[in-house]
């Protein structure tokens, strides 16, 4: 096969060894994997040529379906098919009830407070479900790129809190991926646009995905992307548009609000289809059972107006936080499938006083940016083209103080990494221990903030109240993850904690899941081997086709041509199947029958090359 790929003189056909790294957009509705190949970042397609992997996982007896097949089964098998799992990441059962929607799953509580979903394959945590999606993307990438990955950049909504970030990292670990960096989605989008356009100045990224909304204000200067402010709503997205339409259908059709899971799913699917159609049409027909009706775009616009207003409010707040004026913002970038809704584009355009940018596919832009950053972090970029991303922490971090108040130690929108210390003292004579309660949020009262961790500093030497000096240090790393340590300065007594989110996994749960994933490792390996054979075969077919087009008529007899065509056809027929050894055998045969052709092409090209040069050049 290599013989057929003829390189121009002075150009090596094999670029220098690159370290394989990918960017993954692990989305609520859809997920993608992208990589930089030949200097260009692009999404990687599966064997059917599909770039988008629906974020749906169906657990069946003895197998797991990920992607479209699972999404298609969502209504017929709602209990075992998990969609929009991203909304459950890092959440407790109580939070999920607060999401205010009816989820069709049967939840059980795990060792920690993390919710598990009961399926035919047993209880599955949101982390495991996400890991199944990531594993599928990893296998795709390794097949297409032809080797093991050194790591991945995985994107998360900027507004994800510590628990949600940690859950995402856990999922990657379960999927066998090494995380080079968790990257905020809007920042990734800015990278994709920034590289493309070599822009400088202040940019707003409006990212309305399936389940989350993010707004970020960034300044781009000389290859440095500085996030000035970020905000959003981790429970607002295009899914809510679907729910709004579904609610309207329920009302119009006079259905009772208490619907079985299958009906709910069908309603939501119909709603989603209507939403998508309304991006083009002014008016769509809808039906459910005996009920038939029409939804106009203007009525749809009014249904989503309250949701849109929430996103615009977050935009105004982010602009204020960034310390800039609307006039300073030179461009507004749209990210996420939900920004295809015309009313969304219009409202954002009105707020920022300029039409938003939509050049890069809003579904792919995040994965593309992540791939560029992964390429940088894997060390494939050097010198001037290297990018630096300076992110901020999205929410304030602090401690509980007397009276149930939250004392902020690191305010929101502080550039990370960051370390900050605050001194406290004892309030009772002879006090030897101090409780440290770590919180995240913007509210004054502890009960309105999210509790991240509690730990105790013990062994403080007994002193009078106020004499001990306890320094609590918060450190946030470049992934936005927090570590807290406390130290009594007089005695040097110390305690620290890498913040374990309250709704994270316990070590026992992680151990069990890792075991499970080892059990599936055999299947994974076989699947990867098959995928690699398919990719090799596909590459061979493409290069033979290309060679035939150029030189087939000139260098081959009719019989030779027929033999090659026949073997190509046989290989194509095998490609979609899962018989690896047959694919391997046929690939070899095709290589054999094209050997003579390849040799003739080589001769011809050497002659052509020699003919184009002067003699003295050859002698040197």
């Amino acid at each position: 096969m290599p013989l057929l790929q003829i390189a121009e003189p002075g150009q090596s056909p094999q670029p220098h060894q690159r370290r394989l790294a990918v960017g993954i957009d692990l989305g609520t509705t859809n997920s993608l994997v992208a990589a930089v190949r030949s200097g260009l970042a692009e999404p990687l397609a599966d064997s059917a040529g599909q770039v988008i992997l629906p974020s749906a996982v169906r657990y069946r007896d003895g197998r797991v379906d990920v992607g479209q097949a699972a999404r298609d089964a969502a209504s017929s098998d709602p209990f075992n098919t998990v969609i929009s799992v991203k909304r459950l990441m890092g959440r407790g059962l109580a939070d999920i009830k607060q999401l205010g929607e009816q989820l069709p799953y049967r939840f059980v509580e795990g060792e920690s407070h993390m919710p598990f979903i009961e399926t035919v394959q047993g209880a599955k945590s949101p982390v495991e479900v996400s890991a199944d999606i990531l594993r599928s993307l990893r296998q795709r990438a390794e097949g297409v790129l032809g080797g093991e990955l050194v790591g991945a950049v995985i994107t998360v909504p900027a507004y994800f809190d510590d628990a949600q970030r940690q859950a995402t990292k856990d999922a990657a670990r379960l999927a066998g991926l090494s995380v080079l960096r968790l990257l905020n989605e809007p920042t990734a989008a800015a990278v994709a646009y920034g590289l493309d356009q070599r822009a400088e100045g202040v940019v707003a990224i409006y990212d309305l995905g399936g389940g989350t909304f993010d707004i970020s204000i960034l300044r781009l200067t000389a290859g440095v992307f500085e996030v000035l402010a970020t905000g959003g709503d981790s429970a607002l997205g295009g899914d809510d548009f679907d729910h709004a339409i579904a609610g309207w259908i329920v009302e119009q059709a006079g259905l009772s609000a208490d619907l079985d899971p299958g009906t709910q799913r069908r309603l939501l699917e119909a709603a989603c289809a209507a939403k998508e159609a309304l991006s083009q049409a002014d008016d769509v027909p809808l039906s459910h059972g005996d009920w038939k009706g029409r939804l106009s775009r203007s009525h749809f616009d009014s249904l989503i107006e309250p949701l849109l207003a929430r996103s615009l409010k977050a935009c105004r707040r982010a602009v204020r936080d960034a310390g800039v004026e609307f006039e300073d913002i030179g461009a507004v970038v749209m990210v996420g499938g939900s920004t295809r809704v015309p009313r969304v584009r219009e409202a954002v355009g009105e707020l920022f006083g300029r039409p938003p940018m939509t050049d890069i596919d809003p579904d792919q832009v995040v994965a593309i940016g992540a791939a560029i950053q992964a390429d940088t972090l894997a060390g494939n970029r050097r010198g001037g083209e290297e990018l630096l991303l300076l992110d901020v922490n999205p929410l304030s971090l602090g401690l509980e103080t007397m009276g149930g108040l939250m004392e902020k130690v690191i305010p929101r929108n502080t550039t990370i990494p960051v370390a900050r210390a605050q001194d406290f003292t004892t309030y009772k004579d002879g006090q030897t221990a101090m409780m440290i309660h770590v919180l995240q949020g913007e509210r004054e009262l502890v009960r309105d903030c999210r509790s991240l961790a509690r730990f105790e500093l013990r062994g403080i030497p007994p002193m009078v109240a106020g004499a001990a000096k306890i320094r609590v240090t918060f450190q946030v790393d470049a992934d936005g993850l927090l570590g807290v340590s406390a130290r009594e300065l007089g005695s040097g007594v110390e305690a620290s904690i890498q913040v374990k989110p309250s709704y994270g996994l316990t070590d026992g749960e992680i151990a069990r899941m890792l075991q499970d994933s080892f059990r599936h490792a055999g299947d994974d390996k076989a699947a990867r081997a098959l995928r690699e054979l398919q990719v090799d075969a596909q590459r061979l077919l493409e290069s033979v086709e290309a060679a035939l087009e150029v030189d087939g008529a000139r260098l081959l007899s009719r019989e030779e041509r027929a033999a090659i065509d026949e073997h190509m056809q046989a290989l194509r027929a095998l490609l979609d199947g899962d018989d690896g050894s047959a694919i391997e055998r046929q690939t070899k045969r095709l290589t054999q029958v094209t050997d003579a052709f390849a040799a003739r092409r080589m001769d011809a090209s050497v002659k052509a090359a020699l003919a184009g040069r002067r003699l003295n050049e050859l002698e040197e």
Partner: protein, 173 residues
């Protein structure tokens, strides 16, 4: 101070009047070399050092970028940290503070967004004026009391402008 001076990190002389664009440019230069992303697959010890250095650089940059924090830092460099709580001997300013707060409450009661905008401009002018006075006296011997008084005014004005922002957010609801 055990740590290197914030100004020295950016090759700058301690001063209140700073070219913020130059500071930002130097920050971007320095942070390129120490950011943890440059050490994504370096040994753990190097990663930890990068994290510490980047955190320190970020802290220095945030301190110098903000006028009240820069002023406070300069005084700490010169003559030790300011006591956290002290009785403020600044009756004129106390009176003005009260007036400002009353005005702000009134603006809130009337949900007067235009009035808030005017208030913000006045606040900005007042900040500029105090900054000019501070710049002229902070490094003069015998002016320490005056410099401390001005820093506290700057801190108050900064807090007030945060409150104005919170008010804007509430009125936006």
């Amino acid at each position: 101070m055990g740590k290197p001076c914030h100004f020295a990190l950016f090759d700058l002389q301690p001063a209140f009047r700073l070219d913020l664009d130059q500071l930002a440019a130097r920050y971007r230069e320095r942070v390129r070399d120490v950011h943890p992303d440059r050490f994504a697959d370096a040994p753990q010890a190097e990663q930890r050092r990068a994290l510490e250095q980047a955190a320190q650089l970020n802290d220095a940059y945030q301190t110098l970028k903000s006028a009240p924090r820069r002023a406070l830092y300069l005084l700490a460099l010169q003559g030790g940290e300011l006591p956290l709580e002290t009785t403020v001997q600044d009756p004129d300013f106390l009176l003005q503070q009260m007036q400002w707060r009353e005005e702000l409450e009134e603006l809130q009661d009337q949900a007067d967004l235009e009035g808030v905008a005017v208030f913000k401009r006045r606040l900005k002018d007042a900040q500029g004026e105090v900054e000019t006075r501070f710049a002229a006296c902070w490094d003069l011997p015998g002016q320490r009391d005056e410099a401390e008084r001005l820093v506290r005014r700057l801190q108050f004005l900064d807090k007030l402008s945060q409150e104005v922002r919170q008010l804007e957010e509430r009125l936006d609801d």
